[in-house]
Amino acid sequence: MAAGSIARQDQQPVFVLHTYPFKETSLVVEFFTRDFGRVAAVAKGARRPRSAMRGMLQAFQPLQATWSGKSELRNLHSLEWGEGLLLLNGEALMCGFYLNELLLRLLPREDAHEALFSYYTSTLRALAAGGEVAPTLRRFELKMLQELGYALPLLEDARGEAVAPALEYLYVPERGALREGEGQSGVQLRGKTLLDMAQEDYSDALTQVQSKQLMRTLMSHYLGDKPLYTRQLLMDLQEL
């Protein structure tokens, strides 16, 4: 390969989604980048005790990364702290892992999603600020499906008629809201839940419960058979 074809990208806004050990002293870093989507890079020597990158390769922090290379595994050259640090604690931290697992599983490599990147950033900020996590997660899940091309119709039912708040529906992945009697398996919910979700209003207790069930079913539909580690971990902790 000619030297000129090594694409170097300087100081790109990124988040670390995950890292895993590579060879004796290195790490493979899965980045969520603003302009290139999900990019994997080798951080050479990042597991050495004195590595300058070691402490910075943490999830949930805005970073600026410089890398080069064209193969699936880029070479990470340097990292700098980005604007505004995020401090996620406790439950918010586990929600952050959940977001990262969703992105690792659903976001294809090298597919730029600038709007999703910006939404991910503001979601992390909302989580870091504290408060109720459920509405924040629902908004992110909806936005992510939308950005990936799986937008859910919330205002119209499967026949194209306006969703009525008081009616009961059966929500079926890929088809949308069916009137009672039109389908057999799906998530049972009332019209108001869908309309609330369209408004991003999660103040109603029943909307919270039903939107959670809906999003869980949709996520499993798009994720396939392999369950989410983060969900399994929370279930295992409950058993203790």
Partner: protein
């Protein structure tokens, strides 16, 4: 040309070591068989002995040849304090400071949600049992300040607090001799947020 089966088997076995790929495994095997057969024999017997004799201390979960390790069976430690660390090396580092005189629990890992490492893999059930022996009064969480170490500390503290136990977390901030000008902004941000009143 193929290597003899016994050599192939050795190379395969060496690959169970972290970070050792086929090439370095082959290099190690050649070295052991050609340059250092005495070293190889001693490695083989050390491995066998360790496998036979090393288990986990029933109190602190650290590696031990006895059912209860020397540190746990020494009578001069404060049994009301229990410090939770990720790895045996962390315990050794804390011991070197000579500032802590309580007991330990070694998780042998950390919760790592995206790698599928959950409460089972780090023996949280054993820690809960250990912490509720009726003598432990305070549990000090000394897991790493990484996102995984923080998640571990959070869930361990929730589980212990639900059982009425007092839990603390080791502090973080500027390093000894640390100058603000040269400290990374992550540490500085944390130090600012976790500032304390001067008494």
């Amino acid at each position: 040309m193929k290597n003899p089966p016994a050599l192939e088997h050795l190379v395969e076995s060496l690959r169970c070591l972290p970070g050792v790929g086929p090439k370095s495994a082959l290099r190690m095997a050649y070295h052991l068989l050609q340059r250092d057969r005495a070293g190889a024999a001693s490695l083989a017997s050390a491995l066998q002995t360790a496998l036979n004799q090393i288990g986990h201390c029933s109190l602190c979960n650290n590696f031990s040849e006895e059912p209860v390790c020397p540190l746990c069976s020494k009578g001069n430690r404060d049994p009301s304090l229990l410090c939770v660390v990720e790895m045996p090396t962390d315990l050794l580092m804390l011991e070197q400071t000579h500032t802590y005189h309580g007991m330990y629990f070694v998780l042998m890992g950390r919760l790592s949600p995206l790698d599928g490492v959950g409460p089972r893999e780090i023996h949280l059930d054993r820690l809960l049992k250990r912490a509720q022996d009726g003598i432990v009064e305070e549990i000090i969480l000394a897991t790493n300040y990484t996102v995984e170490g923080e998640a571990t500390a959070h869930y361990v503290s929730e589980l212990l607090k639900a059982r009425g136990l007092k839990v603390s977390r080791i502090a973080r901030g500027l390093p000894m001799g640390g100058e603000i000008e040269h400290v990374d902004s992550g540490t500085l941000a944390q130090a600012m947020m976790e500032r304390r009143a001067i008494k």
